[in-house]
């Protein structure tokens, strides 16, 4: 319950945070909302020696219309993503997904950037932003770079971020008239998804990503290709696990997970197709 001891630094800007983390190397972690990191630290599954608190970096909480995309500051809390009128209009899939993260208390504190940087394949927002073809803006000692979501997730809790880089912005496209669907299958409302699906579709184009179907969020490219080639939703959904590596755990066998993914992809696409 009590984390191992650590040194605590507070940053008031992204640059300062990056400098601090750079100073302490691999053993330093950013602390945003803390709702991915602190649970691990309380169980002593993570024991960073330094925490750099970026919770007060005030200029990283925003949701802006940037023309061809919506720009979301990394420190924007889930609840603000959920309730954003801008996202309700331009990307209701992301807003809807954010409203399913954890519970209301979690959504008051946890941030979209924290969730994405944590790179847990069982989290909702990594997969959702992956499905959307989002771009993540990352700042490091050497400057800023943009990483497409499809290149961001490297392994279980492993991302393309270097230890001294900080996620600063998430850019998601405007859905325009595209339909969307989101399926989060769990046993209790507050639980992680056993399997989740985020999908959007606009005629031949689509983006489908899976939650908790591998060591990273999974972009179901075969599903999208099938749809683009004219397959029906049901046919395309059969390809749901083509890119996935489902694991067995307390809640689901590999077989059941696989089956669920097909059903949920079909349902998400049905919703996205207006049926």
């Amino acid at each position: 319950m009590i984390p191992a001891a650590f040194d605590y630094k507070r940053a008031s800007s992204a640059a300062e945070a990056i400098a601090l983390v750079g100073e302490y190397g691999d053993d330093a972690k950013f602390l945003a909302g803390g709702h991915s990191l602190l649970p691990l630290m309380k169980l002593r599954l993570a024991q960073p020696s330094v925490l750099v608190d970026i919770g007060r970096v005030s200029d990283l909480s925003y949701i802006r219309d940037a023309g061809d995309h919506i720009a979301i500051g990394a420190l924007t809390r889930h609840m603000d993503v959920e309730k954003s009128p801008l996202l309700a209009q331009h990307n209701p899939l992301l807003a809807h997904a954010a409203g399913h993260v954890g519970d209301p208390q979690v959504r008051h504190r946890g941030t979209i950037g924290g969730s994405i940087a944590h790179a847990d394949p069982a989290s909702d927002l990594p997969a959702t932003t992956l499905a959307l073809g989002a771009t993540y803006v990352v700042q490091g000692p050497g400057g800023t770079r943009e990483i497409p979501a499809s290149q961001f997730y490297r392994g279980f809790l492993e991302s393309a971020l270097s230890p001294d880089e900080m996620l600063t912005e998430i850019r998601v496209p405007k859905l325009g008239g595209a339909g969307w669907g989101f399926q989060k299958f769990n046993r209790r409302a507050q639980d992680w998804a056993i399997v989740g699906v985020a999908a959007w579709r606009s005629n031949g184009s689509s983006g489908v990503a899976l939650v908790n179907m591998g060591s990273t969020p999974i972009l179901a490219t075969s599903v999208s290709s099938a749809l683009a080639s004219g397959a029906s939703v049901a046919e395309a959904a059969e390809l749901a696990v083509a890119e996935a590596e489902p694991q067995a755990d307390l809640n689901a066998s590999v077989e059941y997970r696989t089956h669920l993914a097909r059903v949920l992809v079909r349902r998400a696409l049905e919703a996205a197709s207006g049926s």
Partner: protein, 796 residues
């Protein structure tokens, strides 16, 4: 002959609870809230192996860590124990009970078994130091499967030579049983598993012992349901004179049986506080609680029913294999026995009953009482088996039950076991439930909705239950070899200014006893409930009692209070008669006043009597001053609440998801003191039963590691996961106590799980699913459908 003598103002009303303001404002103190200056913190080193010899324990590094005052292995502590950890229920003369001390010496027998302890100046320091204790283990094979345990392939306690702790039988009419099965028109033979459950009271356990080294006393604060029992057991186990032990249960955050016990940490805190001459305290973390606090259930059940051509039961045969866990805690071996009498359920069964339970040790957390304690298990088996019988006969399950219910005119009913069920009317309760759920309408809807090809299938489940609670007549407990009695103590004291003190031996932890007891006294003595103070849960203030569990507190404790009130009235009547210069028989007592019959102007209120008793200026010869009475009441019978629950589910056959659309609970607990509290008990009990059916299971791997150690993995449902509960009641007063009451605390849990599982099977039986295990997770449901599909060749 049952209801109260006087029309009441308060009993039966939905009076708000006096306990609430302190709980709602944070003013109430739970054990871990107590401020205890100078206390050392205890932390336990727990075995990470389910089964291992302890070759050595090295605390030397721990002793060097900051804040650490002492550290001990099990061998260092043996001198502290005058006796072993208590098991108060040797169910048979030859029951095997392994040696069990608070800290293991030679062997660890479950993951979580304590092997060493650390004392430090803070909780964090103690827990940090736990990691520095080196224990050399020689791992041994784990035993996690009950049938494997029975085979003695690996014996957990070598000195016992076997894993079998006992076999206990209840066999009535063995020839009749054999004949019934031989000639039965229908038989069913079912196997069910009562999965291990974790009680998961929201307050993890906490303890603090405060010694008086020179004064000699020790006060034990504990989040316990059983301060009186704990006191006796502390005295015996530690060899401390009983009168020097005081046990206090502060506010307790739920128990459900898991705090009905004597735990290593309680004994350690007392013993080490006396050894070190300073207070010692301990508080559980949740991951500790799931392993170090007792589990519930854990049975493999075989039940066979024999029935005639009309489906009337002619015999019941049950074989139980019960999981004791690694050790016998306070009442571990007796839990299956509490259900042993109930496997014929609410049905009229001739003397043809064959029950046998074999209990085995395993290398898992010990089991013990958990809400219902033996009775939910029994109800599950008979109610599921009745549905199986109905299915076999092609008869509606409600209709089959109606053919078998004990009829209202058969009460008081002497059962095959010799026990007398005092009152009941199963048919009326069942019909009320059927009306509330619109049973006929549901069946019609079901026929349409469950047409072939439907992926959302509707199911209705019934559970008619009754149970024996109000533990219990002491002589019956004696016949079962239970180590204590079943009485309850009450003192009712009228203070000089007509305020009332009630001292009860009950020990509430959420049940609202203060409110209910004040209502009983208010009506009996004609005072306002606000003028009644209820004292409990501190053995210095309430020295006698047998505490709260087994739905006993109202039936035994509340009745004791009523009887004490009657004694107070008797004594007061003597004083009033003396002062009014009349015969006692000329007086009647109503609404708090003694009045001469026929002369309403000649009256004396209780308030005046109380003051007269105090001044003692003019009392009848030989009558002692003061106005109080003490009763210890031993109930003449168990109490037999009953009811019918009905549950409606809709199953998504593509995912296996079970949606609980509706839950109706009709319960009969006799007269209701406070319907608000009764409903609350039913709600909570039902949701725990629903949770067993759909969500919960203590999962162990083959090495004996508990995999569901947290509330993230062990799925206690939230409000979002369960439906509203429609409650209704019938009232069949108990004829065996003057309040006409029966227990209700566990009834909801007893009725619920079979109602849910019967509904699921009902929804899916058209697809060839006959049974599926609890919890019926989506995967379990889906797998059952897959399996049925493959055996039936794809019939939809």
């Amino acid at each position: 002959m049952t209801v109260l003598d006087q029309p009441t103002g308060v009993i039966g009303t939905r009076r708000l609870r006096r306990e609430d303001p302190a709980l709602l404002t944070g003013e109430a103190r739970y054990t871990n809230d107590l401020v205890i200056p100078g206390a050392l913190h205890l932390a336990l080193v727990r075995s990470p192996y389910a089964h291992a010899r302890i070759r050595s324990v090295d605390v030397s590094r721990a002793l060097t860590m900051p804040g650490v005052v002492a550290a001990y292995g099990g061998a260092d502590l043996t001198a502290l124990w005058a006796g072993p950890m208590p098991c108060a229920w040797p169910v048979t003369a030859d029951m095997k009970n392994p040696t069990h001390h608070p800290v293991a010496v030679d062997k660890a027998c479950y993951v979580g078994d304590a092997v060493a302890v650390v004392l430090a100046t803070s909780d964090a320091a103690a827990r940090d130091a736990v990691e520095a204790v080196s224990v050399d283990y020689e791992p041994l094979p784990a035993v996690t499967d009950l049938e494997d345990a029975l085979s003695d392939r690996v014996v957990v306690h070598e000195d016992l030579g076997t894993n079998r702790s006992y076999t206990w039988d209840l066999k009535v009419g063995e020839d009749a049983v054999a004949a019934a099965f031989a000639s039965a028109a229908y038989t069913v033979s079912e196997r069910y598993v009562q999965q291990r459950l974790i009680p998961m009271a929201m307050e993890p356990r906490a303890v603090a012992a405060v010694p008086q080294p020179f004064g000699g006393d020790v006060t034990l604060y504990s989040a316990t349901q059983v301060p009186h029992i704990l006191k006796v057991m502390v005295a015996l186990t530690l060899g401390i004179p009983e009168h020097q032990v005081r046990v206090v249960a502060p506010s307790v955050g739920g128990g459900f049986g898991s705090k009905l016990n004597v735990y290593a940490e309680e004994l350690l805190c007392v013993a080490l506080s006396r050894k070190h001459g300073v207070p010692v305290r301990w508080a559980e973390e949740r991951t500790e609680n799931t392993q170090a606090t007792i589990h519930g259930r854990g049975q493999i059940q075989h039940i066979d029913l024999a029935a005639d051509a009309d489906g009337r039961l002619t015999a019941v045969r049950v074989r139980l294999l019960a999981d004791m866990g690694a050790y016998l805690q306070l009442v571990t071996p007796g839990i299956p026995l509490l259900g042993a009498f109930l496997y014929a359920g609410v049905y009229d069964l001739p003397a043809a009953y064959d029950f046998s339970c074999t209990a085995v040790f395993t290398t898992m957390t010990p089991t013990d009482a958990y809400r219902g304690a033996g009775r939910p298990e029994a109800t599950y088996a008979i109610e599921r088996a009745m549905d199986a019988l109905a299915k076999k006969m092609g008869v509606d399950p409600l209709e089959l039950r109606k053919r078998n219910y004990i009829r209202a005119d058969q009460f008081p009913y002497t059962a095959f076991s010799g026990l007398t069920y005092d009152s009941g009317d199963h048919l009326t309760a069942a019909e009320l439930a059927a009306r509330l759920v619109d049973y006929e309408g549901l069946r019609a809807r079901q026929r349409t909705q469950n047409a072939p090809g439907s992926t959302k299938r509707l199911g209705v489940g019934i559970s008619s239950y009754f149970e024996m609670c109000g533990l219990a007549p002491s002589r019956v407990l004696a016949s079962l070899n239970y180590g204590a009695g079943g009485w309850e103590a009450a003192t009712v004291r009228v203070l000089p200014t007509n305020k009332i003190q009630v001292v009860t031996g009950a020990s509430p932890h959420g049940q609202g006893h203060e409110t209910s007891w004040s209502m009983i006294v208010a009506d009996r003595l004609g005072v306002s409930p606000d003028d009644v103070d209820v004292l409990h849960s501190d053995t210095a203030i309430s020295p006698l009692g047998l505490d709260t569990y087994g739905s006993r507190s109202l039936v035994v404790g509340g009745v004791a209070i009523t009887l004490a009130c009657d004694k107070v009235i008797d004594k007061a009547k003597k004083i009033a008669a003396h002062q009014l210069e009349c015969a006692e028989d000329d007086l009647e007592f109503a609404h708090g006043t003694f009045t001469v019959v026929g002369s309403p102007d000649r009256a004396m209120p209780l308030a005046a009597v109380a003051f007269e008793a105090f001044t003692a200026h003019n009392l009848p010869d030989g009558l002692e001053p003061n106005l109080e009475a003490h009763v210890t009441y031993d109930p003449p019978n168990f109490s037999w609440p009953f009811g019918t629950h009905m549950c409606v589910v809709e199953i998504d056959t593509e995912t296996g998801q079970v949606d609980l659309l509706q839950y109706v609970a009709v319960d009969d607990c006799g007269n209701q003191i406070n319907p608000l509290i009764v409903e609350g008990q039913v709600h909570g009990g039902v949701v725990q039963g629903i949770a067993q059916a759909l969500f919960e299971e203590a999962v162990y791997d083959d090495d004996g590691n508990l995999r569901t150690t947290t509330l993230a993995d062990y799925l206690v449902p939230s409000a979002a996961d369960v439906p509203p509960i429609t409650t209704a009641h019938t009232i069949t007063p108990s004829p065996t106590n003057s309040l006409g009451v029966k227990g209700i605390g566990e009834a909801g849990t007893i009725g619920a799980a079979p109602a849910v599982m019967n509904a699921i099977v009902d929804a899916l039986s058209g697809l060839g699913v006959h049974d599926l295990p609890m919890p019926a997770s989506p995967q379990t449901v889906w797998a059952a459908l897959q399996s049925a599909r493959s055996t039936s060749g794809g019939v939809q």
